[in-house]
Symmetry: C2
Subunit: 138 residues, 2 copies
DNA sequence: CGATTATGTAACGCCAGTTGTTACATATGG
DNA sequence: CCATATGTAACAACTGGCGTTACATAATCG
């Protein structure tokens, strides 16, 4: 969904867009979008102004924003299972496995982000446009 | 948690272990473990017998089981955000973006799994043992 | 054979996280 | 000063996963 919002922003090249408009586009509530924009602001991906005639716009050109950045800005939690908040008991394995798994999963997540880095927001826009065009052609 | 259970099984090299024992080790309920074991059975990772004196054991040596297999056996859902089951509206972006994002995320997930493939269950056991030993040394 | 043991499975409650909604304070521009 | 749009809080609704109880089924042992 974050990517979706940013894609719309990229679509409107530089124009300020209100959260209400974005919400309509993603088919959700303006507040949801605003909450999302807060994360994106923290990551310096968008630039938001308050007041009349204001709204948000991209802070960088779409070609210089990659999906890994968006992912990191939005997803703060690990994609893996909650470590089952129980610290485990007297099992010989339970004691030390958590730390090891964290290491391994961190590495896997890094691998995933490296893959996401290869795609820029501009790439997404381009692909979407192409996909829409071909669909229209039919 | 799946890895934890399998690690315990690997620890008990070949012995059949009951779900009750595993549950105690992971500090949870036997039924939870059984549900997990069902997934692992489907993936042919464990071999479970019913009846008295029965239980589960690994179907392969720990060195020949990698974490990507476990991940695939257990996690059936995408690690990414639910595609917000709403099919979106008349927004020009909304129409085609879902498909594109699916492609990209699939690729990222593949990258993650490729990373997980590099670690076998035996590696995890080894690391855990080493970690426990060093902790004991202190 | 029958008792015991352990899995398979369903039904249900519980809890946490996410989404959605309403409401209101605040800032900005005209 | 007023209209507009964000920031934020409070709360309802929904969802997914975990936990628990309960019961049927299967396999082993005496």
């Amino acid at each position: 969904m974050a990517v979706h919002v940013l894609a719309v922003l990229a679509y409107k090249e530089g124009d300020r867009v209100t959260s209400a408009f974005l919400a309509g586009s993603v088919n959700t509530n303006p507040v949801i979008v605003r909450r999302l924009l807060l994360s994106l602001q923290r990551a310096r991906l968008v630039d938001t102004c308050k007041g009349a005639g204001a709204g948000s716009r991209l802070n960088r050109s779409p070609g210089r924003i990659n999906l890994a950045e968006i992912y990191r800005a939005v997803e703060e939690a690990e994609p893996f299972a909650t470590p089952s908040r129980k610290p485990n008991t007297a099992c010989p394995v339970g004691h030390c496995i958590r730390k090891e798994l964290d290491r391994i999963f961190m590495s896997a997540q890094k691998a995933m982000e490296r893959d996401l880095e290869r795609t820029s927001l501009a790439d997404v826009i381009e692909a979407v446009k192409a996909s829409c065009a071909s669909k229209k052609a039919v």
